[in-house]
Symmetry: C2
Subunit: 208 residues, 2 copies
DNA sequence: AGGCACGCTAAGCGGCCGCTCACCTTCGGC
DNA sequence: GCCGAAGGTGAGCGGCCGCTTAGCGTGCCT
């Protein structure tokens, strides 16, 4: 319903690494379907149909429906982690790097909301092995944000008593954007990113 | 697995309004199952089994599986809204009322995490009518928090530029507790409530 | 031109899904 | 002691699920 428009809107689909073309179309179709209805409520026939193929075509490129979710989740977490790492490795002080990290992380969750929704909310549908792999990536995400906050506390920029708890809250705030953000709503991803960066700086007691 | 222990732990199950007894046992079983696996991945056989009944017994008390989710969602939202209204109608200044509202709202999402998870994350599984009814309750939840923040801005206690955006962020932060809170984790619901009340007061620029 | 690997489809298998139905038990009122 | 209502069961229905298999078209390699 809206994918073609979104893609035509100027944003590049970040699935270039998925080949061949048919496998990518199936994966993009799966992201849409999972985001709209949830993993368990999505049928393989629905995914194949959205990709313009027969139900059996899915099994040429993926062993199971769960492998599709695993690939989506893995690529999405890699992308999210990359965004945070870029911001965390920046050259400014902790205040600037935290603002960068939050605004770009939020921008991704809002702008690529469809993907983010699947990545953040369908973890439980994965089997134990895939789940463990993704949980490890999440720990790295957490460590990245915690690192910036620890830097700010050490330099005296931030006033934070409970570093772990605050890290958790900051990430939670950002991730939940994928649940409520509405493309047709009044805010652009950029605006939400800016608002949230400001709110998070307040949370850590940074000077403005 | 854990319900009996939880109930024995001292907390009262807030399902007293559901009668007869068998209907309540089915509903409690459904809450557990929905929270663990999600609505679509839960079978009516599983729900009935957890309640110690045959699959057919479910349909004596509920017309469909969706009606179970509707009842759960309705009661849960009523409870959450009641908690907020109690805090909002308190006698203190906006700072105290916002801290009360956040800490009690968060305490509910952490302490009754199983219910909160179903209530907050399974909305899309409802049909259009039930969905609309629940969305109306959510608007009332939003209005309650926005009211306190507007009071604080008017009295000069808070420094908030974007009242609607900040309200959204505060609620989002509280609700997402239901996603990550772990009963076996290091924090009690009380501790998280206190931490979050502090973080939210910082977000609105309240004096400490 | 022949062969064959590859991508895909039509058809369908076994199984579990939500839900129904015919029947059974228990129990309070008279 | 009989009756009807209320609450429960075992068996099973139609249908959709994830996934498989046999076979077909197409185009590159020789």
């Amino acid at each position: 319903m809206s994918t073609a428009e979104e893609t035509a809107g100027g944003e590049i689909e970040p699935w270039e690494e998925v080949t061949p073309d048919a496998a990518r179309r199936l994966l993009v179709a799966a992201v849409e379907a999972f985001a709209e209805r949830g993993y368990h409520a999505t049928t393989t026939r629905d995914i194949a149909g959205r990709a313009g193929m027969s139900p059996a075509a899915l099994y040429i490129h993926y062993k199971t429906k769960e492998e599709l979710l695993h690939r989506i989740s893995r690529i999405g977490h890699d992308r999210a982690l990359g965004i945070l790492r870029t911001a965390a490795a920046g050259e400014g002080d902790a205040t600037g790097r935290l603002a960068d990290a939050v605004s770009s992380f939020v921008r991704w969750h809002a702008g690529r909301r469809t993907t983010a929704r699947v990545v953040q909310y369908e973890l439980d549908a994965l089997g134990p092995d895939a789940r463990a792999e993704i949980l490890d990536l999440r720990r790295q995400v957490d460590a990245e944000v915690r690192g910036i906050i620890e830097d700010g506390v050490a330099s005296g920029e931030f006033a934070v008593l409970d570093v772990h708890g605050t890290t958790l809250a900051v990430l939670s705030l950002c991730i939940d954007v994928a649940r409520w953000f509405n493309v047709d709503g009044p805010r652009t991803p950029d605006e939400v990113g800016e608002l949230y960066a400001d709110l998070v700086l307040r949370m850590v007691g940074a000077a403005k």
